[in-house]
Symmetry: D2
């Protein structure tokens, strides 16, 4: 059984990561690779780490070049997915790595993205509420943002169990690949190395409403999220520190047990043993999210930490996981919980 | 006018930074350099960046080798400062870069450090409450911890003005030099690069009670601090994200104005213009702290960010600033607000 | 068909990389994991990226714990392999990631390693001369050093073809994992980041005679190698610049063609298209070596550059490749030419 | 005594470094700061580490804005310096950080830069041959390239003494700031971190003829230089490995002595003690070049290593050093041999 797969935006970081994973997926055949301004270039000069595809040539991103595949991954700039998706037949599995179809609330979309809402698709976080069922055999899937994936999974068990009020503070240290491959001076290596910087502070980052939306599935109370992203000098990885006020007495052991039980059956969420804390390097290149939680009695808060590879489980790995669900094959095919370290 | 200065623990990061700054200080003469197990070694092989001292030899840290100086800096492991300090005459200015004399609360000391409390000295953060007056002409000074310096200064104006409840959440991304020069496997470059990791989560880090102590000087309410340090791959710098619930309506402009006024006369606290956020690289090697604050209305919080060089203003620069105050010379002598970038 | 495999030194970098690769190898079952001082520890706390092995416990490295496997990998400190290997039956495949059995010349061994020569085993670089034949069905294999692998492959075609005199200059920039996981102050992240440093200069590095040995298989002239390793701030990867004087007229195109032909049938040596140059990131985690060569007419030299992941094809990947040859299964099983980037 | 100084290209890395140093220079007053496309912007948003200049506004780079200063530094793209310089009075000290006036050989210029030769100015490497005399009271000075500075100083004593043939191989690992602040995809942090890459291989890099020119001042033989630059993941610093064939017997001790004597009176060239090797971090932010040399008997070569901060002594520091010579003040004013580490 082999499915043909096309990747739009193959020269970007999301597209490249999808392809890195597909190259070791036993059930797919890689079809068209498309791009924008660099269409026509040899793929080896764009993604030199994907050696088996080096002699391919990037085609332009159009409905025509993408036609005739079982699955199409979209790694396009915001706002460009709808047109392409609408031009593809309904039975083609379209998996959007961008933001266009993530939010259900049109008002939130318009406030944070400043454009008309294109609608919403099944949300590609199988570990959240009943999303796995919604993703099985779906033909349109919105891959979650990288920050929302790790932020949500880090606090979800506590919110769902009601041991915290959903008044959540997230500070997430992120590598730079989340900002994409477009060249901007503040993302130059010279600026990034040796530097930690905050951006999108004060609730303005576009991933904020996505975390609110996710946690609202788990709580009947009004969810509030204070989200601060911090850029740190590494290419990949997000380490999210997520805390919320306790609603009552809870021990650190109880917090850990709560998490261990919540994720006992999840193949890609790894709750660390008590006393050990996540680090991004353990999940580099892997589809795993590592989480840990404890209680700060003096501060009256549950504090959880999660680590994810923003490009793998944070984008490309989630996309492949969703593809597997959509195609009805084993959810973990072509994915691993083994990271690349050191 | 020239003061003779000795540095105990000269081969460590704190001692090395004090010396880096003293080498451009116009009013001091560098006397004894002392160390522990590496006493007897050529200094150039221990701190090769301090070229003018390369041919010095490290002496053992004893009351004798440190005797006869106007000022003695201590960069010693926890618990070793008291004995040395007691052996030095009362009129020698002793500046401890370690933690031994920072906390006034013996119970907090014992809880977090697990040893008997040695007492407390004037706290070397001139920008906090009335500390500057207490430091003038002092002969015993405890240099603040690096995390407490930036955490305190980032939220102090808001706490002092009562616009937030002192229920503070701090997540601070730190470079690795704060962990010192002792070789431990998890601090190897191979482990650190490409990696962000949390440690001391859940209120267990020793700098937590120090932040509580500082903010308690500014508020009559009970202060609570949830503090999470995150290790990120850079040698120097801390970026602290500090937030707290608003007590009432406040605009982002008002938050900024509050900070601008609070620090208007502080030579080493630089409030950035509205809309720009701190980055650690701007303060590398400098004695400046960069801060910015805004309001997240939806989350009901004031969010502030501060950047400091953990070794400079976070340790060695603060130590020199305190020395200047103790000696009655201009507070900024030998210090700069200019960072090394890129 | 499934072979049982043990790894001695499983908590180190070489052992960890062998295991990372074995975890996706279809034909092996991972047996004993052994170590030295950390025997008895939970494996998840030692190699947290190898999630499927997290609940294993490290056993002590003895002939007993290693007995009963089809294959034993040794990732031990220099000088410890012989005793273990001698205690294992002759028909067990023993693959030594250390240096003990790499050099055929006892005098060279004693000069560079300062101890008695243990002998030599088939040398695990299938791409060199007739090594592939010697490795097929071998039961004792010495995995090459990381520097020699990339240095040799970068200049081998030119030496073999006689277009250069074998008077070779190698300067190789290396990531830090090659130095191992033992904690030493100069390998701390604080020291490594932002720093490039030379070591083992002047022909004193232990990998020098190994490069000489390799190139001597390809030339009847006396081989001389000036080798300088440079430590640069990255966890993995070696970029070797290798040059030698031309023996006659040669164009850049001819140099490229020579390399393209020499490696046309090698699955893991990737000669880049003319005008593009290797970078280590393209081979991170992969078993590929990327090479390119050109001619500097004014200087009268052929200049080649090679990139390798020192832990993958430079150690653990080569080890697995050799295992495949020894077991008579497809040489590339469980290995990839796809790198992890960015 | 205070000289007024203008900086053209103040928003770039070279201009920023000149300003960082001028801010602690006792004899200058900083006048006009000019730029290209970002003229009109607040300087604090362009160079946030230069706090004392934060409220300045960048002016356009024209002869008018630069008029009326005693000294003008030019940090402009190649080819733009001549026009500005010609418009400034002859008695204004003009110091060009760019390449336009470095090469004396018009043919070499045209070959490597592909444009008409603008002429040559006194070459700002006081440590080379008789350049110091030529720089005293000069009013036009070409600051050397960063690679040529460290490459030249690393091998100059050996070439001048005739102990090597001037058939030199240079491989230099460089931080990224040498590539400037213009945003290009391959210089993004995501691409740079974890990556070492070669470029300008085969004698094509523009700094090659500059090294040839410098060494030709020291030898009557024909100089040949094989130069390979390697980009490594750090913002600043170059570590050059430079070797050449010995002309006769020479011991390592003799090589070291030769270097120690050659640089005994140079304030900014620091020959390390025997057995210790340069690292870039020791010279970060400093005007020092650290060098060491030894002999590889088996390879028949002298091998030297030099470290420089490409932006400091490699550009901005050299520019200030030259300004001091031109103005007739102490050569080391405002400069330091103390580096910023860790």
């Amino acid at each position: 059984m082999s499915f043909s797969v096309a990747v739009a935006g193959a020269s970007g970081y999301a597209g490249g990561e999808v392809l890195r994973l597909l190259l070791s997926h036993p059930d797919v055949e890689i079809g068209a690779l498309t791009g924008g301004s660099n269409a026509g270039e040899r793929f080896g000069s764009l993604q030199p780490h994907l050696v088996p595809l080096a002699d391919r040539v990037l085609e332009p991103t159009t409905a025509e070049t993408l036609a005739g595949h079982d699955v199409v991954f979209l790694g396009l700039p915001h706002g460009q997915s709808a047109e392409i998706a609408n031009a593809l037949p309904d039975d083609v599995v379209v998996i959007d790595c961008g933001a266009d179809f993530r939010l259900t609330d049109a008002a939130a979309w318009e406030k944070f993205y400043g454009s008309a809402h294109a609608g919403s698709w099944p949300y590609g976080l199988p570990e959240l509420a009943d999303q796995r069922e919604r993703l099985a055999r779906a033909t349109r899937i919105a891959v979650p943002g990288c920050y929302p994936t790790v932020s949500t999974l880090s606090i979800a068990p506590a919110v769902a169990a009601g041991v915290v009020t959903p008044d959540v503070v997230v500070v997430a240290a992120s590598g730079t690949s989340g900002a994409g491959k477009a060249a901007k001076p503040h993302l130059l290596g010279s600026e990034i190395m040796g530097n930690a910087s905050a951006y999108g502070v004060g609730g303005t980052h576009r991933h904020t409403p996505e975390v609110v939306q996710n946690l609202s599935l788990l709580s009947s109370e009004q969810v509030r999220v204070s989200f601060t992203p911090v850029l740190v000098p590494m290419p990949r990885g997000i380490l999210a520190t997520v805390s919320a006020p306790l609603t009552g007495a809870l021990t650190a052991d109880e917090a850990h047990d709560l998490y261990a039980k919540a994720y006992a059956d999840e193949p890609f969420v790894h709750v660390l043993p008590p006393g050990t804390w996540p680090q991004t390097k353990s999940v580099t290149g892997s589809n795993a999210v590592h989480v840990q939680a404890t209680v700060d009695e003096a501060a009256g808060r549950l504090v959880a930490v999660g680590a994810v590879d923003n490009l793998a489980k944070g984008t490309g790995g989630a996309a492949v996981q969703c593809m597997n669900l959509a195609l009805g094959i084993d959810e973990g095919t072509g994915l691993t919980t083994v990271g690349l370290a050191p």
